[in-house]
């Protein structure tokens, strides 16, 4: 009896040791992949920024939006419950701000306002965006009994004040900060599904400023990128070459492309890979996101799996998303410049949608 118990204990110890070894190995593999992807992105973005920008947007812009849509559907509850006001404000804000943002270039084409008036219009849109974010943070804070998030109003109004001083720079800041939000999503996702990887991930994040500093050191003295054709001019303008004439456009485009590549990497590789590797939790309810399934498996989405869910609607949305991805590829292949302009205007919707879903994960 005692011998049997010893054998079982020895077997348990050996399996536990194997698990620890496997966990350490998987953490190392995860960190190695992260570092390799970041280094490769930095090298490519510094070497041929314009070409890499064209290729990455062509290949990954549409698919990464589809993956984001799927991720958001996975995190959307079947019934809003106490979060009803939060989601109502979120969706109303996304709709209103997207429509007004899309209308801006249309209005600009009519040439009704001067440059100064456009700065005021831009500052007004930024103000609405910030106030919407402030209200969302406050509503989310109301759901947290232990924390007081009412500081959000003071912080929001402070940012609004800075925005009115330099609205163009504020918009440029959104262009550079948005890719980093994906890294925050990955952090929150790891915290829930793979806490053992979190430490390695944070160490890898510490290398990010070093990589950017290296890119600045290498590209700051580089000659300005050629912007003699419409497409190259659009890419350099998007990176802020007009607003920062004293900074090398090579550096600006390089850093922007590097951050965009990290953004695409998180949504297209890291999050789906973690979802596949993560083991399903025991005793999960139909309303909780199920992890570990295929991306094509609708059962992984609570909205489709729940008895009161909308499986057909969800399937239609995802199929329509695939249709849009194919349409984007077709548009890029026919007229890259125009499709790029249209994409980066309409894509404000996914930038806005990230805010409420990230807040729900905090």
């Amino acid at each position: 009896m005692e011998r049997t118990a010893n054998i079982e204990l020895a077997a348990w110890r050996s399996s536990e040791a194997a698990l620890v070894v496997n966990r350490q190995l998987s953490v190392r593999v995860f960190a190695s992949i992260l570092l390799a992807c970041a280094l490769l992105s930095a090298v490519l973005a510094s070497w041929v920024p314009l070409q890499i920008s064209i290729v990455t947007v062509f290949l990954f812009a549409g698919p990464h939006n589809w993956f984001e849509l799927r991720y958001f559907l996975m995190r959307l509850p079947v019934r809003f419950g106490k979060s009803r006001n939060f989601f109502l404000v979120a969706f109303a804000g996304i709709g209103f701000l997207t429509l007004t943002y899309i209308s801006l270039p249309v209005l600009y084409s009519f040439g009704l306002w001067t440059g100064e008036a456009w700065s005021t219009i831009l500052a007004t849109w930024n103000t609405l965006l910030l106030l919407w974010l402030g209200v969302l943070v406050w509503l989310r804070g109301k759901q947290k009994s232990r924390r007081d998030w009412s500081w959000a109003f003071a912080a929001t109004l402070g940012l609004v004040s800075l925005n009115w001083l330099q609205p163009e720079f504020f918009s440029l800041a959104i262009v550079y900060l948005h890719p980093l939000i994906a890294l925050w999503f990955l952090d929150r996702h790891l915290r829930r599904t793979r806490p053992a990887w979190l430490r390695a991930y944070h160490r890898c994040l510490c290398l990010l400023p070093i990589l950017i500093a290296g890119m600045v050191w290498k590209s700051s003295q580089a000659a300005a990128l050629p912007d003699d054709n419409g497409l190259f001019w659009r890419i350099t303008q998007h990176a802020g070459a007009q607003l920062l004439p004293n900074v090398s456009s090579h550096l600006l485009v390089s850093i922007h492309v590097f951050l965009e590549m990290l953004h695409y990497g998180v949504w297209l590789i890291a999050l789906p890979l973690i979802a596949r590797l993560a083991k399903p939790a025991n005793g999960e309810s139909p309303s909780t996101p199920r992890i570990g399934g295929s991306i094509w498996d609708l059962k992984t989405l609570p909205l489709a799996r729940h008895p009161r869910g909308f499986p057909k609607l969800i399937a239609a949305m995802l199929v329509f998303g695939l249709f849009v991805v194919a349409a984007l590829w077709f548009g890029f292949s026919r007229d890259y410049s125009t499709t790029r302009d249209v994409y980066f205007t309409v894509a404000i919707a996914h930038v806005l949608a990230e805010a409420p879903f990230l807040l729900k994960m905090l």
Binding site: S119, A123, F153, A154
Partner: protein
């Protein structure tokens, strides 16, 4: 069936969006408007020894004017960008004030530790200095007509008059006049 119909309608709407946008009439060209390229100050000094009227422009003002006339893309400093738009500066000040007010309410409502108080004091000091800088740069003051209202009396007394002035580039006039100094005057 309804969902399929809705999907078809949505696809049709998206497919017709671009051709519909392509049919929008070309906007009428807006008439050429005058533009203010420089804001500086002007002091009118009556001088009984001078034979000719003189417009003395400082070296720095001349350089700024030359850059504006050449339509060269200059890179304005933060302070210049702020002072060029008093509306935006005022709104920035209003939101800064609101931010401080909300921060004060939040502080009053929340429990404070010692370290929190130090951080808050530093933040408040920074915010106050920033607000003071904005107010200084806002160029807030009475309208131009108020400053120029005593010009006739001052000219009669032989004393100087100080007021703001805009240098404006306008299309060539038919009467052949080169420069025109417009002094705002309000009827008493």
């Amino acid at each position: 069936m309804k969902q399929f119909f809705s999907l078809c309608v949505l696809c049709l709407l998206l497919a017709t969006a671009l051709p519909a946008y392509g049919d929008i009439a070309r906007p009428k060209p807006s008439p050429q408007k005058s533009r203010i390229v420089l804001h500086t100050s002007l002091t009118i000094v009556p001088d009984n020894k001078a034979y000719e009227a003189r417009l003395q422009i400082s070296q720095s003002s001349l350089q700024e004017l030359r850059a504006a006339l050449a339509d060269t893309p200059t890179n304005p400093t933060m302070a210049q960008a702020i002072t060029h738009s008093s509306t935006r500066t005022m709104l920035a000040g209003v939101f800064m004030f609101l931010s401080l007010a909300f921060a004060g309410i939040w502080l009053a409502r929340s429990g404070q530790t010692r370290s929190q108080k130090i951080v808050v004091a530093l933040l408040m000091a920074t915010a106050m200095i920033s607000a003071a800088a904005i107010l200084t740069r806002a160029n807030a003051g009475p309208p131009g007509s108020y400053l120029w209202r005593k010009l006739p009396q001052n000219l009669g007394k032989g004393t100087p008059t100080y007021g703001g002035i805009d240098i404006e580039i306008v299309p060539d006039s038919n009467d052949g006049s080169g420069m025109k100094l417009i002094i705002p005057q309000r009827p008493n």
